[in-house]
């Protein structure tokens, strides 16, 4: 069956160019970059090039790049390091729509280490309450950690403005830029960001590789203690193959930034407009403007997300949902609940996240498939009658 992949906020296809760059290092070029022989050193040289490419992608210095195993490790390391650097400060700030990699870690610090946590709320459009955020910053604040763009809705926070404010107040600022990367330009120097997380598999590199950018001068404490790798900031033999792949992926992502903001945005807008037109009782979740160009979170009244996804799956269409039933939890997504999306559409919310590999033809197939799926489920639903919710 032909697969239409519109779940790129979950993971992405490894780009052919990335795979090609990696293949030799799976095979004959297996050396350890730390070794004292030319055979290992050639891997080290290639890894240095990758580090430079990653640094260029976010306008950092290569020494400020730490390779990790995933986005979660990057997020955890940043927070862990911040509270270690300022053990006397017992207040930490984040939002209430973060990824579990930040959210759960904060909750644990609150529960087990007695940290006072400010979870800054969002409004109906998913936008941050900036007044509350700024007013909550104090001398006791160890770190502010906020996502640049939300994985479920694509809504973006004004990270540059917040970083500036954090700098003024002398508070460490970390951003999880995992969804933003490759979709909007990122300049850590200009923005004055202290730490930033990236994940390879969201930008057409393989799974199992992440990055933590750490601004020069910050006293970083490693989460993984071991060898001298990553200048003592992350022990463990480097995942050379994936690092090399990620370097290539960052180079491509820079080149593709324009395509994502033109072609991909157009496809997303086309899908959005047509679905809203053709399916009554549908609504977009999140601010329409301050949103990633590739993401559409759309709710359908009186139907449930898992059912929609499984019916789309039969047509080879891959998307995801914010519904409870797909995740094993019972509440709909914490992001949609934080935005106070009404239950009638929250349970039936579907996320389409595109990449530059998608085509208009694919959007048309999705639209054609989705209309009868929603109809079939509404014909079955006790909450839908005569074209509206009852």
């Amino acid at each position: 069956m032909r697969i239409i992949y519109t779940d790129n906020n979950a993971t992405t296809k490894v780009a052919d160019e990335v795979l090609e760059e990696m293949l030799p290092y799976f095979g004959e070029l297996y050396g350890n970059p730390s070794s004292m022989h030319t055979f290992g050193d050639q891997v080290d040289k290639k890894m240095k090039q990758a580090r430079q490419r990653v640094a260029d992608f976010i306008n950092a210095d290569p020494d400020e790049i730490i390779f990790t195993s995933c986005g979660t490790e990057s997020d955890n390391s940043a927070i862990y390091s911040a509270i270690n650097a300022y053990p006397e400060k017992k207040h930490i700030i984040t939002s209430n729509v973060e990824h579990p990699a930040v959210n759960k870690f904060y909750q644990q610090l609150q529960k087990t280490k007695g940290y006072e946590v400010t979870f800054v709320p969002v409004d109906k459009k998913g936008l941050l309450d900036l007044d509350l955020l700024y007013n909550s910053i104090s001398d006791n604040t160890a770190i502010i950690s906020l996502m640049w763009a939300n994985n479920e809705t694509g809504v973006m926070f004004p990270i540059e403005e917040i970083a500036k404010k954090a700098n003024e107040k002398g508070v460490l600022f970390h951003t999880d830029a995992i969804q933003a990367a490759g979709k909007i330009p990122i300049d850590v120097k200009k923005a004055g960001i202290d730490m930033l997380s990236l994940s390879g598999h969201k930008i057409h590199a393989p799974k199992g590789i992440g990055v933590l950018y750490v601004k020069q001068g910050f006293k970083f404490s490693p989460l993984l203690i071991g060898g001298h790798q990553e200048k003592g900031r992350r022990g463990g033999t480097e995942n050379t193959v994936s690092i090399i792949g990620l370097g290539k992926a960052c180079e491509l992502a820079r080149e593709n930034l324009t395509i994502v903001n033109t072609k991909v945005r157009k496809l997303r807008d086309y899908l959005q407009t047509r679905l809203l037109e053709k399916i009554p009782g549908s609504s977009v979740n999140g601010d329409l403007e301050l949103r990633l160009p590739n993401t559409l979170s759309i709710g359908f009244d009186a139907v449930e997300g898992e059912s929609i996804l499984l019916m789309l799956d039969r047509e080879g269409i891959c998307a995801s949902s914010g519904s409870a039933c797909t995740s094993g939890s019972l509440e709909p997504s914490h992001v949609l609940m934080a935005m106070k999306v009404p239950f009638k559409s929250a349970h039936g919310s579907i996320r389409f996240s595109l990449s530059h590999y998608n085509t208009k033809e694919e959007m048309d197939i999705i639209i054609t498939a989705l209309v009868p799926v929603i109809q079939k489920l509404r014909d079955m639903s006790p909450f839908w009658k005569d074209g509206k919710v009852i």
Binding site: A302, V303, E304, G305, E306, S307, L310, M311, R314, S323, A324, C325, T326, G328, S329, L330, E331, P332, F343, K344, H347, D379, M380, S381, P382, F383, V389
Partner: protein, 189 residues
């Protein structure tokens, strides 16, 4: 992805007996839009108290639809007395089993059936008996005790799988734990 049996998939994609039933003389509803799943069951019962037809309308995930569809197939031709003895396990077994976290879908079927039977017999179920434990999903202590005893449940997670109780804000998990302990102390599990 959930590990659904072929039977669950079949009843989800080709649900039997969907829609309102004309001439229904018993209706039972369970769940709500807020909860994320709901079932409205329609029965036609003859003068001998036999279910001659049954249909459903369901909002929910694949296992909720499949459980509803299975329920209508099982009860057609049954007397109300026999139908009243139906358990959620009967629904789950008919489908070749449900993932643990989806057991509440079969409980929803059983609950709607109970209400439809009460509706036919003119018995009013006014308020749920017992004290409210889970506010998110409106589950009482007596409901929890029933399900714990009937299924030999020993952990709060499994209570959540069956009743959803504790699966929302989680504030009642300690209370559910206490109930489990008290049932255990009675030696019923």
């Amino acid at each position: 992805m959930w590990d659904y049996t072929d039977k669950v998939k079949d009843h989800f994609l080709n649900p039997r007996n969907v829609g309102e039933l004309e001439g229904a003389n018993a209706i039972g509803e369970s769940g709500s839009l807020n909860c994320g799943d709901a079932l409205k069951l329609f029965l036609k019962v003859n003068e001998n108290e036999r279910i001659v037809d049954a249909t459903f309308m369901t909002f929910g995930c694949a296992s909720a639809v499949a459980s509803s569809s299975a329920l209508t197939e099982i009860i057609k031709g049954m007397t109300l007395d026999d139908a009243a003895k139906l358990t959620n396990d009967d629904i789950s077994d008919y489908l070749g089993g449900l993932p643990k976290a989806k057991m509440h879908c079969s409980v929803m079927g059983q609950s709607a059936l109970k209400k439809a039977i009460a509706d036919y017999r003119g018995v009013q179920i006014l308020a749920k008996p017992g004290n409210l434990v889970c506010e998110c999903f409106e589950v009482t202590d007596l409901e929890i005790i029933d399900v714990v005893k009937a299924n030999g449940i020993t952990t709060t997670e499994i209570v959540t799988d069956y009743l959803k109780a504790g699966g929302g804000c989680g504030q009642c998990l300690d209370r559910i734990e206490e109930i489990l302990e008290s049932v255990k102390a009675e030696g019923k599990v």
